[in-house]
């Protein structure tokens, strides 16, 4: 059933698709982190309308499927507005928005874990809200949630095949194209599966390392050596 020669022939076709998948994963992840931070910070704004808007957007995005969002951004937005983005840009934006809402929950838990005294000390030192976020709160809120962020990196990676629905030529669409050209489905889909497996394993290994690095020598306000 498995034809190594055919599999070897396929590999060059997968190379660009692999690059697209990795590119979409990294860019989508970075956007998710950015949106996640924005949602989390806006969700804590002193202005009620900002808080309300942020929470509604998060709730809305989380209650609809990524696939529907991708279709909407790719097919409907160009009809409603003069903005028409290529498949890659649309895809990473959809990934970033969708997982940004999940990431905002992750950041929220990290932010909530920073003791209130840190905010109060910042006020007592006359730091601006902005400076307090950047220099005091986020540097303490983010390190503990890095492992969870890493898990979302893997989730985003595994969700990239969704984007074939908006014509992004990533791994799965490439496999499908090859399979329909040759009517041989076994090799292309197996290769895709193995590639996903290999990269996921590498990601989780990296995350475990980060986890170790951050669990050691992490300082918090009350704990630590005396």
């Amino acid at each position: 059933m498995w034809d190594s020669e055919y599999a070897a022939q396929l590999l060059p076709a997968f190379l660009p698709a692999f690059a697209v998948t990795i590119g979409a994963t990294i860019t989508g992840f970075m956007l998710a982190v950015l949106f996640g931070l924005l949602f989390a910070i806006a969700g804590r704004s002193a202005a009620a309308p900002v808080r309300w808007a942020s929470r509604s957007v998060v709730e809305f995005i989380r209650s609809t499927p990524l696939l529907v969002q991708a279709f909407f951004l790719y097919y409907s937005v160009p009809m409603l507005t003069p903005v028409a983005m290529p498949a890659f840009a649309t895809g990473v934006l959809a990934l970033g928005l969708h997982y940004g809402t999940y990431m905002s929950e992750v950041f929220r838990s990290g932010i909530d874990a920073v003791p209130r005294g840190q905010w109060e000390a910042s006020t007592a030192l006359h730091l601006s809200k902005r400076k307090t976020w950047i220099s005091v709160i986020l540097p303490q809120a983010i390190p503990p949630v890095i492992p969870v962020m890493g898990n979302y990196l893997i989730v985003i990676f595994k969700e990239t095949p969704t984007l074939m629905a908006i014509t992004l030529v990533e791994l799965l669409l490439t496999a499908k194209t090859e399979a329909s050209a040759t009517y041989r489905v076994f090799e292309p889909y197996t290769i895709v599966g193995l590639l996903f497996l290999a990269v996921s394993l590498i990601f989780s290994l990296g995350i475990r390392r980060l986890e170790k690095k951050w669990s050691f020598g992490r300082e918090n306000e009350k704990g630590g050596l005396r």
């Binding site: 840190q118 109060e120 000390a121 006020t123 007592a124 030192l125 006359h126 303490q140 300082e219 918090n220």
Partner: protein, 284 residues
């Protein structure tokens, strides 16, 4: 929400001396109060914590605020530092309302910008230090001068080192808070607050969280700072000896009200109210 009393402060002049809370014998010669509390009330939900506080603090004056736990001492300090908003009444700093501002000629509730401006004159040291755990001692002390006062790195570090020398920690510049003792942490916190050169500093039970053998080092640092004189201090404390030694005026509060105030000798040797007598008994 703006209170009736705040409106009144706008209608009258901020310089109005009527209703002065402090008897002339206690009032330091010359100078206007740097801080005035006027009928300040604070409730948490249904629970009234402060039930009408009138208090004037003069430039450079050292005030010890003593009283049983739960009498609202800390809340008073926190309102001055803008960490709690009064339920009613007015707090004036240099004659300007802290929690209210003027907008189109009308008094409105203070926004963050107004608070940011006003709190520049106030500093605070906390019971639990609240050092930034992810920053070295030096970084803890230079953060605000660099970010708020816009000092260069060199200027800020020079100032920080001078302050850390004052609290006896110039050899700990590159150490992280977790490696310090409680007393050392609190001295860093004092240096960090001092470096902003506030006109009035709130010391909120700064030795209450310390092991007994570490209390002395922190109190002696505060005494040294008090001797320098220019900065007014609101010392919320349970250390009666310390209060007696440092304070120009001692205020005894209980159940959300100021019960008695006076010079340290009078308060500690000749307390008038039964409430204060009973309170001091426990410290003998």
């Amino acid at each position: 929400m703006i209170t009736q009393i705040e409106k009144q402060w706008y209608d009258e002049s901020a310089e109005n001396e009527a209703g002065h809370a402090l008897s002339p014998s206690l009032r330091p010669a010359g100078g206007k109060p740097i801080v005035r509390f006027r009928s300040v009330r604070k409730s948490f939900g249904e629970l009234p914590v402060l039930k009408g506080i009138d208090l004037d603090i003069y430039p450079g004056e050292k005030i010890a605020l003593i009283g049983p736990s739960g009498s609202g001492k800390t809340t008073l300090g926190r309102m001055l530092m803008t960490l709690e908003e009064p339920t009613a009444g007015t707090i004036l700093i240099d004659g300007e309302p802290l929690w209210a501002m003027e907008k189109n000629g009308k008094p409105v509730r203070a926004n963050e910008k107004h608070l940011q401006k006003m709190r520049g004159k106030v500093g605070m040291v906390f019971q639990h230090f609240h050092l930034f755990p992810h920053m070295s001692v030096l970084k803890n002390v230079t953060l605000a001068p660099r970010s708020v006062l816009k000092l260069s790195k060199e200027e800020a570090e020079e100032l920080a080192v001078a302050m850390l020398r004052k609290v006896g920690l110039e050899d700990k510049l590159h150490v992280y808070p977790s490696q310090l003792s409680g007393g050392q942490k609190q001295r860093v916190a004092i240096a960090r607050a001092l470096v902003m050169q506030p006109k009035i500093m709130v010391f909120d039970e700064v030795t209450s969280a310390l092991d007994p053998e570490l209390v002395g080092e922190v109190l002696s640092v505060i005494k040294e700072i008090a001797k320098e004189g220019q900065m007014a201090m609101l010392l919320i404390t349970h250390e009666m000896e310390f209060a007696r030694e440092v304070a120009d005026r001692v205020i005894f509060g209980a159940e959300g009200l100021i019960v008695e105030e006076g010079k340290p000798e009078q308060i500690f040797t000749n307390p008038r109210s039964e409430r204060l007598q009973a309170f001091l008994q426990r410290f003998l």
